[in-house]
Structure formats: C-alpha cells, structure tokens
C-alpha cells in the first residue's frame, strides 16, 4: 500500500464552551488546549469520562467548531471547513457502520465519493480487507458480523481513503478484554503501515500506554500532561496524572531544595534527592511518588515500615505497609527465594530515588 504525504495537526489554544442543559451555565468542555502532532505520529487523548476528549476529536473532524483558537492540518487552517472537506477519517465508538450496505459497500463508500473507477475501488477494498483480515467477508451484511469484525470493517472504511489523519473515539470499548488487547496491537501495526497521523481517544490507561507515541492526559477540559508513555508513567506532573496512570504511592513531606530538576524532599526526617518538576518552591508541601513495583522491603533501607498486608499473588508478593502515616503498596515481582514478610513485621522500605518523582 503506497503512502501519501503525511500531515501533522496543530491545535492552537483551542477552547470549546458548552451550556449545561440542566443548570444553563456555560462551561469549558475544552479549555485552552494546545497540541503539536507530528506527521505520522500516534497521539492518544487520555482522561476520565467527560474530560473533553471526544469534543477535542470532533473539533478536529469538524463536527464542532472551537470557540477560541485555530486548528491546522499540515500548513492549512481548517477552522472553516465542513467535515466532508477535511482530510480526516474517524472511527466511531459504536462503529457507525451503514446498516443497509454489505461489508464491501461500507468500505467502498468513501472511495466512490472520491470518484475512483470501479476496478480501482475493487482493488483497494480487497487490499484493505486483506490488511484487516476480513477477506471473504465482503458480501456479509454488517449485522452478520461479530463485534471484532464490525470493528475491523469500521477501521477498513476509515483506512481505505488514506486520510491524512485518522481519528479514533474509544474504538475498542465495546469489545471484550481479550479482543481489545489483540485489536490495539493491530490498529497500531496498520497505522504504521499506512503512515497516517492518528489521534486516539481512550479512558483506558493500559491501552494508551501500549499504543501511543505520545499521550495527552486531560482533566476537566485542560491538558494535565503531555509526553511519551514512559515520561507520563515515571515523571507524572501531578497527583491526578500519577493516580490516573496506574497505581501510585506517596511519601508526604516538605521540599527542602530545588536545583534544576533535582529536588530534595524531607520525609520522616530523611532527606531524599529525586526528580522534581519546576513548578514547586522550597518549603512547599510535597510528596515523593513511587510506583508499587519500584519499591521493595528489606532488613535495612531508607525508611522504616510496618507490614499490614502480605499476600502471595503468584507473579509477585503484594504488600501494604505503613511508613509513618503513608500507606505504601508494594508489588515485589518474582518472590520465590526472597525473604517474605508477614503482617505485623517491621521492615525497611528500599527504592532507587531516581525511580521516584517529587510532586
């Protein structure tokens, strides 16, 4: 499949204001969102339900108009263009397949509108059905397909027109867990094969982690953080982000000093040096965020801990320990041969401070 010239997307200080249907109050569904998506990049908008992900996506597609800000596709401003004139293709949460057409006609729809000849259309449709592994299904009506197959028809329908931008609105949320894992790898593979820029909306953090070049975490209409999956996971910008992406432990204390990205936090009388974002000042209340798998227990270490739960899970030993007032959850992988602590034991918390982030 040949690829065409890729285009990036720029959102320049975009806001969207809606009126709450009940209270009649206006509110920012999307608030001052700026994004620069490189051509061919796979970017995920991640956040809890109602945080404005879909609205952002629909503004890119052209179904909603931003109240503030400008949207660019490549070099071109597209604010005034209707959705049918924008070179985007969207995959909807409920697939939105055309129920009166069979698989072939569903996929061919966009090509017909672009005036391709009959045999070209056949060729392209068959190629894309091959890619999404739906060969031989072209004459089925869409209600004769399983959820996963419908989802792939929707994907094929969007891909076949080779849009500059692919938009996904929680495309996997209607599938069961196994299929979800399988499909997300497939979406990623096909996107890379086709080379379109992709914007993907989800509220599932593991989906976002596994699929994206870049994750944009949103909360209440604003961007909470933007970065690679590793950055977001290990260097969250706020407790909201830290807790939304996986489990997070907090050792609360006071920021002593800050030099560039190196902060020193005092927790229970011990000073710990770790990465710190630059929006804090010495003297502020702060917390050292540690992921459960970055922490273990030992007979000596940084901070004293009392075990309140100890549970063998097979792949790991699960502990809950109290460090001062802080409840710390620990997943200690590959526990066979290690010393196992029981409830009530005194132990020491061990971690590498560079795995933590001061928030």
């Amino acid at each position: 499949m040949e690829t065409k010239k890729k285009k990036g997307i720029v959102l320049d200080h975009i806001s969207k204001i809606y009126q709450d249907p009940k209270t009649k109050k206006e509110f920012y569904a999307v608030n001052d969102v700026s994004l620069n998506i490189e051509p061919g990049e796979f970017v995920t908008l991640l956040g809890p339900s109602g945080c404005g992900k879909t609205t952002t996506l629909r503004m890119i597609a052209g179904f909603e108009s931003p109240d503030i800000g400008e949207i660019y596709l490549g070099e071109e401003k597209i604010n005034e263009k209707t959705p049918d004139k924008r070179d985007t293709a969207m995959m909807f949460q409920n697939y939105a397949l055309f129920p009166h057409m069979n698989v072939f006609d569903n996929v061919a729809y966009g090509l017909k509108l672009r005036g391709f000849k009959k045999d070209e259309i056949r060729e392209k449709v068959f190629a894309i059905l091959d890619l999404v592994e739906l060969k031989g299904m072209e004459n089925r009506m869409t209600n004769q397909l399983s959820g996963g197959q419908q989802q792939r028809v929707a994907l094929a329908r969007a891909l076949v027109v080779q849009p500059s931008v692919l938009l996904f609105d929680e495309p996997l949320s209607n599938l069961d867990a196994n299929l979800r894992v399988q499909m997300r790898t497939e979406i990623r593979r096909i996107q890379q094969e086709v080379g379109s820029t992709a914007v993907y909306v989800t509220h599932d953090q593991s989906e976002a982690m596994s699929i994206s070049d870049k994750i944009v975490v949103m909360n209440k209409g604003v961007i909470a953080q933007m970065g690679t999956p590793t950055e977001i996971y290990y260097r969250p910008a706020s407790e909201f982000v830290a807790s939304f992406i996986g489990e997070a432990n907090y050792l609360r204390g006071t920021l002593i000093s800050l030099d560039g990205e190196n902060g020193v936090i005092e927790v229970l009388g011990r000073q710990i040096e770790a990465f710190c974002h630059q929006d804090k000042n010495p003297g502020d209340d702060a917390a050292l965020m540690l992921r459960p798998e970055s922490v273990t227990l030992g007979d000596e270490g940084a901070l004293p801990a009392r075990v309140v739960l100890s549970c063998f899970m097979g792949a790991y030993q699960n502990y809950h320990v109290m460090v001062g007032d802080n409840l710390i959850k620990i997943t200690d992988y590959n526990p066979k041969g290690k010393k196992i602590y029981a409830v009530g034991d005194q132990a020491w918390l061990r971690f590498n401070p560079s795995d933590g982030t001061i928030l």
């Binding site: 509110f27 293709a89 729809y109 869409t142």
Partner: protein, 590 residues
C-alpha cells in the same frame, strides 16, 4: 484544576461564526431550505394570511373590523358555532369512552377466542382505508327516510337520523378507533405490579380502575379527547350528508361560498374555525402530549394477569362485540347497497349503478382521482422525509419555522384550506392578476394554477405532509447520528448523505408515507370540494353528490370502487415493503 464556569459572551461568537461559515459552505442544504420555506410559505402560510386579510378588509380594500362584527352577530354563524362546539364535545367524550372500553377489554380481559381481537382489528383499520363519509351513507341507508330498517322493515317515514343524533353516531364510530389504538398503547405501558399492589391491599377491580389506572391515563385521555374534538370540528363530509338541518361551521362555510353569499363573511367564518382548531391543537401539542409521555415511561416489565371473571368478561365482550359487528356491518353495507335496483323501494339485483357511475362522469372521475393522488404521493413522501431530516438532524435559523408550519398544517380543517386556496389564488398571488386584462395575467401571478389539477395536487400535498413528517421524525430519531456523521466524515455532502444514507435507512417510513398520502388524497373531500370543476373531477365529490341527490346505489358503487382502489394500494405496499423494506436489517423497537 477547576474548569471555569463563567464566560464573556463574545467568546462563543467564534463558534457561531464558524458554524455559519460551514453552513454557507453547504449549498445543497441551503437549496433544500429555500425550497421548503418557499413551498410552506406560499402554499400554507400565504393562503391562510389571505383569509385573515379578507376578513379584515372592506370591499374597497380598507382595514375594517366590520366583517368580523357582522359575522359575530350573524345568526347562521352563531348557530353553527355552538352546533360545532356541542357536537365536538359530545363526540370527544363518546369516542374516548368507547375507545377506552375497547382498549380495556383488549388489554385486560381474557377472551376465549381470537374472534374479538380480529373484530377489533378490522374496526381499527376500516376508517383508515375508507372515504370519510361512508358510515353516514350506510346509516342513512339503514335508518333514513328510505332506510331498510326504518322504511322497509317498520314502514316508518322518519328523518330522525338526520341531524345531531346521526352525526354523533357516525362521528363516534369513525373516530373512536384512533382513541382505542392510543389507549391500547398506553395501557400496555402501565406496569401491572402497580395495579396488583392496589388489588393486594383490598381494592375492588372497579376501584383499581378508577383510582389507579384512570389517573395514570389522564393525560392520554385528555390527548385523545382533544384529537377527536378537533377531528369532529374539522369534519365536513359527514355533516354534509347526514347533518340535515344541523349546520356546523364547516358546512355553513361551504354553503356561504357555493350559495354565492357574502364571501368576506365566509372568510371570517373560516378564520374562526381555524382559530378554534389551532387553539385546541396547541393545547394538545404543547401541554398534554408532554404530560402524556411524562407519566408513562418504559415498557411493562412482565405480563399482566388477565381478568377471567365471567361477570366482567361476558357482558364486556358482548357489548364490544356487538359494536364491532355493527360497525363492520355498516362498511359491508356499501358494496351490498351498490347491487340493488332502488334502495328502499326495489330490492332486485343489478349492476346498473356501476354502469351509471361510468356513464355519468365517464371514467374521468376515477382517472383524475387516481392520477392526482399518484402524482402527489411521491412528492409528499419525499418532502416529508426531507423536512423530518432537516428538523431532526440539522441546525439552521429557519428550522423552527419549517417545523411549526408543517405541524400546524395538521390543524387546518380541509374546508378552511379550500377557501384559503380560492381566496389566495383565484386572482393570482396577492390578487396581482387583477392588474392585467382578463386572461392575460403572466405566469408568475400563479393565476393559471386556479382550476387546474396542479392546485388539487398542492392541496393533497399540504394535507398529507404533516402526517408524513411526523412519521419521518419518529423514524429518524431511531437512527444514531454517528451513522450520518460517518458518511459526512468520509466526504459526503448533505445531499449525498440524505440520498445514500438517510433515505435508504428510513425507506419503510418513506414507502408507508407514499401509501398514506395516496390514501388520504384519494379519499379527501373537504379540502378539494371547493376546487372541483369540469376540468378536474374527483370520485369523492361524485359520491357525495350522488348521496345528496339520494342516488344511494350510485354512491355505493363509486365508494366500493374507491375502497377497492385503496385496498389494492395497501396490498401493494405490503408486498413492496416485504421485498424492499429496511426491516430486514434494521432492528426496530416494537
């Protein structure tokens, strides 16, 4: 971070501006809007406005309230006005009661056989497929001056059936099936456990009905009552045939016009009739319809324990069965009546009335009726789907206007529309044709429309548009908006989305709109009776003429043929939907 909640007003202006720009980038939608607004304005709003202006204008063209005052003091008007209200109220009540009885038996009472259900079904569908006045015809043939029962069986020369009594019977029997179907739907939605709870704490069946069921249904009852009330007030054909001296507004207006009496007074009377139906319609639409849907939501969770008690079951079944058989008998009487030499005098069999209907008007009345109805049906159905689509799926400034006008048209009585068309088009739009020498008015004055089949087609369209639009809206609400968005997103413009996605998805609704509008058109009389002329003849007009002249055989023969045409059309529809309909692949809620 807390989302802000207060916004400077001008912030939202950008999205409004962009939406406007996007709108102007959609020429097909704009074209559709222009066409619809033009059509609705010229063929619904304009004629009615002309009616208003006639009523407020003196003969030399000045504004005056004299006509209104004169009308209000006019005895004919006053009598007709109160007659109309009285009839409407009585028929509203009787139809509601009979409809409720039928619905209650259908939903609550365990009947031994399927016969009763079958009878109910026939009774409910007959009014849809027959011309509006056949029951009057049958009733006269049974109880009129030369009626089979009155004269032939008992030798009575009575005209007691003409007038209020006959009207109440005929209108009730014509309109109650609609109430029955409405109530049936509502009763099925009542959760049986609510009533069973009342039974458990010791309430009698009657008590449960009056204290639980009835209050739950109250908005629905009010709704059905008002709908029937409006139907009765707007009815023209029945009062014309069986009304005798009992003049209603609709018949008085007709007599004013045909009797060459004061045209401005006729306009004023039509205006009052229109205001009456509009007021009732608004009351029904914006007040009761909302309440009706608010109290009854969701479907019944499980089956109802049906009443088996003989003391309830048998009398109710017999009563409803008798009414059903009587109604069906009245319909059956039509083809029977067409086969006798001279009803009331000579009951020898003959086909002469069939020959007569073709001899008197030729086949023209049939071909005209069929042709005009066939032309108007596809236009009506397509237009109503378009309007429904624009109303449900699109946002634009004139949407409210389009929605309002196409719905309000439902409340315009046929006779009022007829007069409005005469006043609006006889001398061209805004009477401009008067400025030109006789017979030389240019095309754009639209004077040429008057007296043609085209004008009749327009009336047919206007009369059926609201029903089609309402069904289209209901069908479109079931289609997820993302399906059309997906098409747009892939590059389809508005027109393409409508033809390739929307219309195929509401094909069933489109086809049934086609049939409904064909049936409504071919059985229409009140709106077109004033527009019939030697160039345009219609079956319904011929039937009512024959009936008024006492040629019952001729009337029955023509009505039988009409019913057969309608029935054939419906059969065709069923075959058509079966093979081409959408229900094959779209799940629909029951």
């Amino acid at each position: 971070m807390e989302a802000k909640t207060v916004t400077p007003q001008d912030y939202r202006s950008q999205s409004k501006k962009l939406d406007r720009k996007k709108f102007w980038n959609d020429p097909i939608l704009i074209a559709m809007i222009v066409i619809m607004v033009f059509f609705l304005t010229l063929f619904i709003v304009y004629p009615l406005v002309m009616l208003l202006s006639e009523a407020l204008r003196s003969s030399d063209g000045h504004f005056t309230l004299d006509t209104i005052k004169e009308t209000l003091n006019y005895v004919t008007f006053k009598t007709a006005f109160f007659n109309t209200l009285k009839l409407g109220l009585i028929v509203g009540v009787t139809s509601t009661v009979v409809g409720m009885l039928f619905a209650y038996i259908d939903v609550y009472v365990k009947t031994k056989t399927k016969i009763l259900a079958g009878l109910f079904n026939v009774v409910a569908t007959m009014p849809v497929v027959s011309p509006p006045f056949v029951l009057s015809l049958s009733l006269i043939m049974l109880f009129g001056r030369t009626g089979f029962i009155t004269k032939s069986l008992f030798g009575l020369r009575t005209s007691g059936i003409y007038g209020l009594t006959g009207l109440i019977i005929v209108q009730t029997l014509t309109f109650f099936p609609v109430c029955y179907l409405t109530f049936k739907g509502l009763l099925k939605n009542i959760d049986p456990s609510i009533e069973e709870a009342a039974r458990d704490i010791g309430a009698s069946r009657m008590k449960v009905f009056t204290s639980v069921t009835l209050p739950l249904m109250l908005p629905g009852i009010g709704n059905a009552f008002l709908v029937t009330f409006i139907e009765s007030i707007a009815d023209f054909a029945n009062p014309m045939i069986i009304g005798g001296n009992y003049d209603t507004l609709a018949t008085s207006i007709y007599l004013q016009i045909t009797g060459s009496l004061n045209k401005n007074i006729a306009s004023a009377m039509a205006l009052f009739l229109l205001l009456l139906t509009m007021a009732l319609f608004l009351l029904q639409k914006y007040w009761l319809e909302r309440k009706a849907t608010a109290t009854l939501t969701g479907k019944a969770a499980r089956g109802r324990i049906l009443i088996e008690d003989k003391g309830v079951r048998i009398p109710l079944s017999i009563l409803a069965g008798a009414v059903s058989i009587f109604v069906i008998g009245l319909y059956v009487l039509i083809p029977i009546g067409s086969l006798f030499n001279l009803w009331g005098y000579d009951y020898s069999l003959t086909f002469k009335w069939y020959e007569y209907t073709f001899a008197s008007g030729g086949a023209k009345q049939y071909t005209d009726s069929i042709t005009l109805a066939l032309i108007s049906a596809p236009i009506t159905s397509l237009m109503s789907m378009l309007i429904a689509w624009m109303v449900v799926k699109k946002k634009f400034a004139l949407k409210g206007y389009i929605e309002l006008v196409s719905m309000m048209a439902m409340a315009v009585p046929g006779i009022v529309l007829g007069i409005a068309y005469i006043r609006g088009f006889v001398t061209g739009v805004f009477h401009v044709a008067e400025l030109f020498p006789r017979g030389q008015a240019p095309f754009w004055t639209l004077q040429g429309l008057y007296g043609t089949g085209a004008l009749v087609v327009l009336v047919f369209i206007v009369r059926s548009l609201p029903v089609g639009t309402r069904n289209g809206i209901a069908a479109l609400r079931q289609i997820d908006k993302s399906i059309e968005e997906a098409a747009t997103d892939l590059g389809a413009n508005s027109g393409k989305v409508f033809t390739s996605i929307t219309l195929p998805l509401i094909k069933d609704s489109f086809i049934s709109g086609l049939i409904t509008s064909f049936v409504r058109s071919i059985t229409a009389i009140s709106a077109v009776i004033l527009l019939v002329n030697p160039r345009v003849n219609l079956i319904t007009y011929q039937i009512s003429e024959s009936a008024n002249k006492g040629y019952y055989g001729a009337a029955c023969a023509a009505a039988t043929i009409l019913i057969l045409i309608v029935y054939a059309a419906i059969l065709l529809l069923q075959i058509f939907t079966k093979y081409f309909g959408t229900s094959r692949y779209i799940k629909r809620e029951e």
